[in-house]
Amino acid sequence: MAVTAETRHRSRPHGIERRRRRVAYGLLLPGGGWLLVFFLVPFLMMAYTSLKSGGVLSGGFRFTWEFSNYIDALSGRQVFVMRSLMYAAMTTIGTVLLAYPAAYWIAFHGGRWKNTLLFMILLPYFVSFVIRTVQWKFLLADTGPLLGTLKDIGIVPADFHVLATPIAVVGGLIYNYLPFAALPLFVALDRIDRTLIEGAYDLYANRTQAFLKIVFPLSMPGVFAATLLTFVPATGDYVEAEILGGPTTKMIGNIIQTEFLTRARYPVAAALSMVLMLTMVLLTSIYAKALGTEDETLAAARL
């Protein structure tokens, strides 16, 4: 009698443990399976495509370990890669500098308006990304409502001198990624234990010291996530460069887009895309090593 009770007691947690694990894998299966087929397999296919040779018109593509595609893809393209990285870096610095003070104020002084203010920051996401960018083109046009003297011209002239500059492209990128940066910054700042700041004041810290020694270091996971969530997508972005930019502001995304969709040079385009992705993975992991851990990134990325 006592023995069976004992064994049952011992075996029960074990059975529950096994059942929990079965439930976990069962829950994981549908979503995880979808991501496997439509996220991981496509990457393998892109890698595979990047090593093919041939052309659409010359009888299709064959897999031939054509590593020269990578040389082909990059020759003369370094300028676009460098420009994209430059623009993305400027965008990242711009968004974090612009978003941090507002995120700070909302987190510490937002009070019962916190959710409303956050909602205001997210408002642009309710308008299509393309339309938002087109509105900036409209606003920044030489004859537009912002810059322009409202000259009476029947048709919008193809006169985008102010527009086709790096400033217009980076400005558009900053605008579109600002809410992306503001959210993780807010989450990190909001999470800071207020008693730590009071503690700093008790220890004679002035406001600047309290910020530099307590608030800023504790908000680093947010800064880390914000920079990542801005820099990585901004590097590959081509819509701002296409709509607000000109021939001198082409980014790597424009090149990939043209190679894929206009010229149908799939292997070269796939090779370029692979280079972009690997560059991002490399830079991200260096950055993660230097600044934070992946756990912190994930924590702060939970919008």
Binding site: L35, V127, I155, L229, E294
Partner: protein, 285 residues
């Protein structure tokens, strides 16, 4: 005795200093809120321009920088261009179906990640983070590579499959955050009261994480409605609203685009507000 004196001092000093600090503090209190207001104005400006120019009484068919006067014409004729109407319809249908499929997929994924420990959890978390952070163009070009390889007909189905793929991770992280924030003891209590795990889930866990699921659903819908880059890669000849707008940018946009954009904006905001208010009503937030 001396210990007590030194211990008391730090507390008294800030109190004495407080009046001195006050004027600076008051000024500082003005700077940040003013800045925040300006930042919001900056964020809202293009939206206001979009709404305003939907009423622009232009002489031709294409939008001009000049505001000619107020008209409701474009609201009357917003569905007159069949290709534009079809593009909007495609966008809405794809967003609804993609969100409806991505939400259960992401919810179960979020539950698995938020509640259970299992082998490969770190890898799954990493893939989800990558899926969110990777440049859209990489995702788009890899999906196109696969569809080309599979000789799939580009169009509605390929757009839908791709949208579900990029939506699911967003739903998963939203639900996971909610699951991790919940009190596990509630569910244990339900099981102590002889509820089966399934009943405990539906009666206790599900209502608690429902706001997270709804937020994920909303996010998926909005992201899908808005997506341009990935859609552009896998759409073939089919046009969605952002693709139509992008294509028409070169020749100038008709004001009906402003009108449709405004209506989608108002509908989205209304939906979000209703969700938020109903959530507050439940008292769960």
């Amino acid at each position: 005795m001396s210990v007590a004196v030194t211990a008391a001092q730090p507390r008294s000093v800030p109190v004495e200093e407080a009046p001195l600090r006050k004027p600076r503090k008051r000024l500082a209190r003005l700077i940040l809120p003013t800045y925040t207001v300006f930042l919001m104005l900056y964020l809202v400006t293009p939206i206001l321009v979009m709404i305003l120019y939907g009423f622009n009484d232009i002489p031709g068919e294409r939008q001009t920088p000049r505001f000619w006067g107020f008209t409701l014409d474009w609201y009357r004729t917003m569905f007159d261009d069949p290709s534009l109407t079809q593009a909007v319809r495609n966008s809405v249908v794809i967003a609804i179906v993609a969100a409806a499929i991505a939400t259960p997929l992401g919810t179960t994924l979020g539950l698995a990640l938020g509640r259970y420990g299992f082998r490969g959890k770190a890898a799954v978390s990493f893939v989800i983070f990558m899926a969110i952070a990777i440049p859209e163009i990489v995702l788009g070009s890899s999906l196109l590579s696969m569809f080309v390889q599979a000789q799939a007909q580009l169009g509605f189905v390929t757009i839908l499959l791709s949208h579900i793929a990029f939506n699911t991770p967003f739903v998963a992280v939203t639900v996971r955050a909610r699951v991790q924030g919940m009190d596990r003891s509630l569910e244990d209590a339900a099981q102590d009261l002889f509820a089966s795990p399934i009943i405990a889930f539906w009666k206790v866990t599900f209502p608690i994480i429902l706001p997270g699921i709804l937020a994920g659903l909303m996010l998926a819908f909005v992201l899908s409605l808005d997506d341009f880059v990935i859609t552009n890669f896998v759409s073939g000849q089919l046009q969605t609203f952002p693709i139509w707008v992008y294509g028409a940018t070169r020749i100038g946009l008709p004001p009906t685009v402003n009108v449709l954009g405004t209506l989608l904006f108002v509908a989205g905001v209304a939906l979000a507000l209703i969700t938020a208010v109903s959530r507050r009503g439940e008292g769960s937030e």
